[in-house]
Symmetry: C2
Subunit: 309 residues, 2 copies
Amino acid sequence: MRESELLKHIYGRSAKLLSQFSQVLVGPGHDCAVVASGSPVLLKIDQLVAGRHYRDGTPLDLVARKAIARAVSDIAASGGTPLAALAGATLPDAYPNANELFDAMARWAEHFGCPLVGGDIATSSAPGSPLVLSVSIIGSPHASRGPVLRSGAQPGDGVFVTGAVGGSFDPTTGLGPHLTFEPRLVEAKFLCDTLGPRLRAMMDVSDGLGRDAGRLASMSGVAIELKESALPLRTPGLPWRAAVGDGEDYELLFAAAGEVPPRCPATGTPLTRIGTVKAGSGASIVLRDGTRVDVSALGWDHGMGAQTA
Amino acid sequence: MRESELLKHIYGRSAKLLSQFSQVLVGPGHDCAVVASGSPVLLKIDQLVAGRHYRDGTPLDLVARKAIARAVSDIAASGGTPLAALAGATLPDAYPNANELFDAMARWAEHFGCPLVGGDIATSSAPGSPLVLSVSIIGSPHASRGPVLRSGAQPGDGVFVTGAVGGSFDPTTGLGPHLTFEPRLVEAKFLCDTLGPRLRAMMDVSDGLGRDAGRLASMSGVAIELKESALPLRTPGLPWRAAVGDGEDYELLFAAAGEVPPRCPATGTPLTRIGTVKAGSGASIVLRDGTRVDVSALGWDHGMGAQTA
């Protein structure tokens, strides 16, 4: 297929975007898209690489969904609302499903409220070249709470997680929650609305609860202490190392001062206290037998594909 | 190298960004960057693929420059000012120069006024996997003229181009202007300032003057007629097919009503009238001998790598 045909296919969506999404002032087809935003805006880029972030044979719709949802999850983790998305695809030569792939990405982007307003297509004729998707999302911060960052956690804060962790990837099928997770947009907005400045710091759990807790601790200049007995496991009996190290949960990890409701009313998602912010540095877990283990290197050094659990 | 080390390297730049670029409210290190913007904003994504957009052996600094400058050129073509950039890189396994590559992209992004505020790194272990860079840029439109689009050209307008066209790629060395072009930010601002609403439509010439003129004509619902004798050639004696079909000029192609100054005073860049907007459709060139040739398919169907000149 020629780029011009694919572009025509994509531009066909432009008129629809203008009527459905009031923030889209100019859709695809020009050198830049034009999007209305509050000032400031949230910005995030994420990539999805075949063979790295999903297995060959994964249904195309789930590949497209994950490419979009991963970046949406970061907007959620910043307490924001997604406004618009851009997608780049580097396709192996003679890739037969470019139309379907962009359609699916456009559909999921609209589903999450951030219509695809721009894209770029390239091909690679290098033998064995993988499909590479790159998604950038612009979002608006929460109107009153403002952008929620990884910094801001203070000693004495509780440490919480939405939903459940671990077992996101089925090693037999390659499927699982890492493909079908729901970015926690509603929960993030509820936390911003309800806690306001008591919501001190937040991030999404992509590389593993341990490693990500270590990052939040590092950016806040504090230590985080988790409790094994408090972890909300996705499946009963899951070993704590899996819960802390599997990664790709795309749950919200947050630090909050004072009381936090037990669940998000609109979705029923549990909000579970799993630890405490302390003075110091690093992230550790206190096991049921009282042992303390450093977990700040447990999980995926993700982009590099090295799991160190 | 581990992602955590590379990220640490990147985050080291964050503090500097905050002090140097007032639009950066939160730099790298959190789930999203936060950037102040006017509303609306311009959005553009572009990719650079090894073996497709540059040859193996091209100096890394020029690869980084082109990755950033291509997207900056689209912001310029929309009459805007770049505000911030995001960069994604999919690296072949064991790629040794990740630090240098991101440093160079960051340096060029800052050079063009759009500091790198977010990034994503992935690796691919597929044998032969090429380096893929993806750059997204957010910009603010011209304050009074607003976003300049590809639509808006009207019969009777003059058709103009900045600088010179053709011969952007040296087939012997693989080097040339396609790597070192200066995005026409100053010229675009001058045109918006000076012409205001008389600047009807604009785009950058990436895939070839012929094909791109065809796109501008199509988006404006008009025909564009170029004159061979008027083309500003990069090198004397260049055949018209090269001038119209080589592509990667990254010059501004624009339609304007009334007088246009002969050059941009601040840079000296020539602003050359090369044709006229007419009623109808498509893009054609009138040769010195009076023959008319359809040029709307001359150039690169770029992403797909097929040159049809």
